[in-house]
Amino acid sequence: MSRSFYEFMNPVKIVSGTEALEHIPFELASLGVKRPLIITDAGVVKVGLVEPVTRALMVSDFPVAGVYSDVPPDSSTTVVTSIARTYRESGADGIIAIGGGSVIDTSKAVNILVSEGGDDLLAYSGAGALTKRLKPLFILPTTAGTGSEVTRVAVIRDDETGRKTPYASAFLMPDVAVLDPRMTLTLPPHITAATAMDALTHSVESFLGTAKNPISDAYAVSAIKMIRGNLPLVLAEPNNSNARLKLAEAACMAGVAFSNSMVGLVHAIGHSIGAITHLPHGVCMSIMLPYVLEYNLAECNDEIAELLLPLAGAEVYSQTAAGQRASKAIEVIRALRDELFDKTGLPRTLSESGKVEQTQLEDIARMSIDDGALLYNRVDASYEQVLELLKSAW
């Protein structure tokens, strides 16, 4: 049926491993950066994650133009404009972003303004508005989940209209993503679990979707294997640097996979649950994943069956009859969620989350069918079908 064609892109240099932070001065110098501005949030500063970065720069005699540490969880155009002003006044010539999704998206948006000039961020909204390289951007993720360090999208709230506006361009992709185990070592168990389930969902949906391709498949399968192997280990031994690093690498690989083959119905529903109830994104993913897999089972049986190998290992895979592998893969995901519930309290149903009202389900279903991610799900879903899924997950 398909006229074979796909696009794949990942120009981000990934610097990963022990003392990766100490490698930053070399990378900055390679790109001609002399005075980077650090962009972060108060929480990151509070847990001491900026200090090892500034120390790594200091010992290499690398001056920092400044540290902007007031990025809010829900960033907006005013915040971006304010940081762009700080960038210009400080004489900075590059950006180091330290944080999670909001800090990373904000930094990408700041990079638009300081590279293109002016203060009108909305002029660059949508797809394809950027036509040239931006200033050097380094991303140091402090969660292992979003994969934003390798994606070409940023979403920023417009203060005038209140709408969340997307910005999409290959030029938004960072130059360097730095994965250092110290950056995620302090992540609390429930956030570790939720963000890892986000990364797992990125991998699974990119492997099953209509835009899947052989290259993104390779990233997705590797990411699933690493998450399944290291998430329980990190929860049992939170100070296990190696396992923490593996989770960060898996989230990054999942990011590469989904930024090229997109996500599906779990995300379409998850975006809507998040928008209406403010339930954290990773929690939405974790709750909806097995229900949507069951919904997709008839159409995606072979692909879901393939996932049993990275999810459960060679022994379980070989011991499971071919016809049972897809159901077994979903069972493994359900067992993982039970384990995470026991260890971290990560909810498995919408009612367990305590943040979703049954009366909101219809609005969530209505919003879900207008979410672009639905196009990438192999099985279409109507309002009634999404509502049924939400009721099942209640």
Partner: protein, 176 residues
């Protein structure tokens, strides 16, 4: 002297131009005559504009929502609320000749979609509804993720209304 364009390419461009016009007139009619499409388009705000075209120089289709439904219009002065541009003629021809479905064309990045994404989802559902009504089931099933059960009378009446609307559109050239 610049080389002349291949005949096959010119034919494809002609076909794509015809199909975009067909789609425009068909959508305009169906937004008033078909229950499902009019429900989808009714949720777009009045004055909403969208464009669909082929990079780099067309052909193009421009539409606007007014209180009666969608209408085919001339190229708007500003940026439309939703802009869908096929990356090249081959992609547009593949989609508009029903070698692949609208949803798959979106997923396979045959086009750049810029602007109101929720509105683009409504339009995808409208395009699919038009495919359901106007195409033989055999072809529609091949290019769609899900072919709903539909009574033959509903399909025939829906198709007849759309084809009449398209003919009327071509005759009157209802581009404002």
């Amino acid at each position: 002297m610049s080389p002349s364009l291949p005949i096959s390419w010119r034919m494809k461009r002609l076909y794509v131009r015809f199909m975009l016009a067909f789609l425009g007139h068909g959508l305009a009619k169906a937004s008033r005559s078909d229950k499902i499409i009019s429900k989808e388009t009714a949720s777009l705000r009045d004055g909403f504009t969208f464009s669909m075209g082929v990079m780099p120089n067309g052909p193009e289709l421009h539409m606007r929502k007014d209180n009666r439904g969608l209408v085919k219009v001339a190229k708007p002065a500003g940026k439309p609320d939703l802009d869908i541009q096929f990356k090249h003629l081959g992609h547009a021809f593949g989609t508009l000749s029903f070698q692949e479905g609208t949803a798959e064309a979106f997923a396979r990045e045959r086009m750049v979609v810029d602007g109101d994404i929720p509105a683009s989802m409504k339009l995808v559902r409208c395009f699919e509804r038009i495919e359901i009504l106007t195409l033989p089931k055999l072809i529609a099933c091949r290019i769609m993720r899900h072919y709903p059960s539909i009574k033959i009378t509903e399909k025939l009446v829906g198709a007849a209304q759309i084809y009449l609307g398209v003919m009327a559109g071509f005759v009157t050239g209802n581009k404002k």
